[in-house]
């Protein structure tokens, strides 16, 4: 395969960014809180490839007023508003507990402006126990008149470059799908030397209550996630992989609730996947998918999961 990744003995295990991953199945940010609820009440989270924690800002954020969630056909809309206790509280009160579970910890970070992003990045770069940073750019840039970092390639390039100056830990950029051409922001991220791309965040949507005759969510619009968005995520991963091949690692997220969905992401070009909304209705889904991937590899006669990454492209070329 490629230079940044090295298969290990077990069929799902590999070393990426110098970190040993047991398997390629992670939880998605905002869909696993900070991991403790599941660890304390349901199962051993060290079985997971990695845990991506809920988005962290420098200052604590109260979040949006309720109603924050609504189910939609094969999906849901959320407008949590990035409620979080701030990065210091996370490091002092939550991380020490989470660290005990012996899992790879990915911190999802965001800010209202570049300055806040940099403060969070610097802080977590020094925080022991956080292995990887994942940049959430679906947040509007207040200083630039509300332009989302995730939709303007120049703003994004500038943000990533500055972060790369202060962050030594691997920095993943989570791209927003709310853009005409995903290759624009992918290109900006690659040029700014991001260590990996995460595709995709939620899609902007709305649901209306026909009795009350008004939007259901208090903030009117929200982010669409769940099985409904699977084909969009697969298409975007495919497009990005097609352009960059193995130049940059891609982590797939969006609509995965079972093994076949994860395989679609992997075949499109993702070398790890994140499970989000499915955790809400099936908390054990990541463990089922890990088992499912093992079985799939065995059944198809592969030796390692990495043989499947991006395979959908190769098949097409050979035909």
């Amino acid at each position: 395969m490629v230079n940044f990744i090295k298969p290990l003995d077990k069929p799902l295990a590999y070393e990426l960014f110098g970190i040993k991953f047991k398997n390629p199945v992670w939880t998605a940010s905002g869909c696993f809180s900070y991991g403790l609820e599941v660890a304390e009440n349901l199962y051993d989270i060290s079985q997971l490839g990695a845990v991506v924690v809920k988005g962290l800002s420098y200052k604590p954020r109260e979040g949006n007023p309720p109603q924050r969630i609504v189910e939609t056909p094969a999906g849901m809309l959320n407008s949590i508003g990035l409620q979080n206790p701030g990065v210091k509280y996370f490091a002092e009160k939550i991380l020490p507990k989470l660290k005990k579970y012996n899992t790879i910890i990915v911190a999802n970070i965001f800010g209202e402006d570049e300055e806040e992003y940099l403060k969070v990045g610097e802080f977590l770069n020094k925080t022991d126990g956080v292995h990887i940073l994942e940049l959430n750019v679906s947040c509007p840039n207040v200083k630039k008149g509300g332009i989302a970092f995730g939709s303007d390639p120049e703003t994004l390039y500038s943000l990533i470059s500055k972060l790369k100056n202060v962050v030594e830990k691997p920095l993943l950029v989570k791209l927003s799908p709310n853009i005409t051409n995903i290759l624009d922001t992918a290109q900006a991220s690659v040029e700014a030397k991001a260590d990996g791309l995460v595709l995709i965040n939620t899609l902007l949507g709305m649901a209306i209550d026909v009795e009350r005759e008004e939007p259901i969510l208090a903030t009117k619009t929200g982010g669409l996630s769940g099985p409904a968005i699977l084909p969009i995520a697969v298409r975007m991963i495919y497009q990005v992989y097609e352009k960059y091949k193995t130049d940059i690692p891609i982590i797939g997220v969006g609509g995965i609730s079972k093994t076949e969905d994860a395989l679609q992401h992997i075949l499109a070009g993702a070398l790890a996947v994140q499970i989000g909304t499915a955790l809400f209705f099936d908390p054990y889904s990541p463990l089922k998918i890990i088992k499912g991937l093992e079985n799939h590899i065995k059944r198809k006669g592969y030796r390692h999961i990495l043989e499947l990454v991006g395979k959908a492209h190769k098949l097409k070329l050979e035909r």
């Binding site: 905002g30 999906g75 909304t277």
Partner: protein
């Protein structure tokens, strides 16, 4: 410990009004606290219409059997009515971290509006076991909404329960708050345990504030996960000036701590 398992349906039938009863065999849930709830997936595996589980109070536990009462409103509860005896159904339970204080007071008044009574029925049993003094108030609009009447009789709580109907078609005519003040002031060290529609809970809290009596509310909220990971189900805690998760910091809250 939270269990996420498929449990056998022993009974799923219509009672009255818009209420159905679901009985499952779930020995794991034997020691669930009163006030705990379950997230039930109405559809089969990998069916996404609806996709999310729905929240229901654990209304009673009898040996290995667990009882739920549910009102049919939308897709989730409608789909639940299609599930048959002998099938296995996905249940995540017991959920919640804060429940009714069963030991703190000498006298309890349970105030249940409509299907909200299902959030108090297990508490009645537990208070009885503990030898606590209690009275339950059960209020609805019309007689056919008294879907838990049989349960009350079968469990010998008839003389512990005052029944209110707004149209006077059964029991006392009037709102559930009609005699609340007098009842609450009758004995020392009394507290209110409340579950029901928002309007009713607001009316109860108004009375409670007037006479300054400890009051605990079991709240409802739109939930995606039910076990704390989505932060979707929040309510404002005005004492601490922050949003708390109904499913994880609740579902029972001190009425004077929250914005209601």
């Amino acid at each position: 410990m939270i269990f996420d398992k498929k449990y056998e349906i022993l009974e799923n039938r219509y009672i009255s009004g818009r209420t159905w009863l679901l009985r499952v065999k779930a020995p794991d849930l034997k020691s669930s606290p009163a006030g705990a709830f379950a997230m039930i997936k109405a559809t089969y595996d990998s069916q996404f219409d609806p996709m999310m589980r729905r929240a229901f109070a654990i209304a009673d536990i009898d040996g290995d059997e667990v009882l739920f009462f549910y009102d049919v409103y939308g897709k989730g509860t409608k789909t639940l009515t299609y599930r048959k005896k002998g099938e296995f159904i996905d249940i995540l339970a017991p959920l919640g971290k804060r429940f009714f204080p069963e030991d703190k007071f000498d006298n309890y008044i349970l105030v249940g509006g409509g299907i909200g009574f299902a959030g108090l029925s297990l508490l009645m049993k537990r208070l009885k076991e503990k030898g606590k003094n209690f009275t339950a108030l059960y209020g609805v609009r019309r007689r056919e909404q008294l879907s838990m009447l049989d349960w009350i009789e079968e469990n010998g709580f008839k003389d512990k329960t005052l029944i209110y109907t707004e149209d006077g078609s059964y029991g006392i005519k009037g709102l559930i708050t009609k005699d609340l003040k007098e009842l609450a002031l009758e004995k020392e060290n009394t507290a209110l345990m409340v579950c029901g529609p928002k309007g009713m809970m607001k009316a109860v809290v108004k009375v409670a504030k007037e006479i300054n009596i400890p009051t605990y509310l079991s709240l409802e909220s739109k939930m995606a996960c039910g076990f704390g990971i989505c932060i979707g189900c929040v309510i404002k805690n005005v004492k601490e000036e922050k949003y708390e998760r109904v499913c994880y910091e609740g579902p029972v809250f001190n009425a004077f701590d929250i914005q209601f």
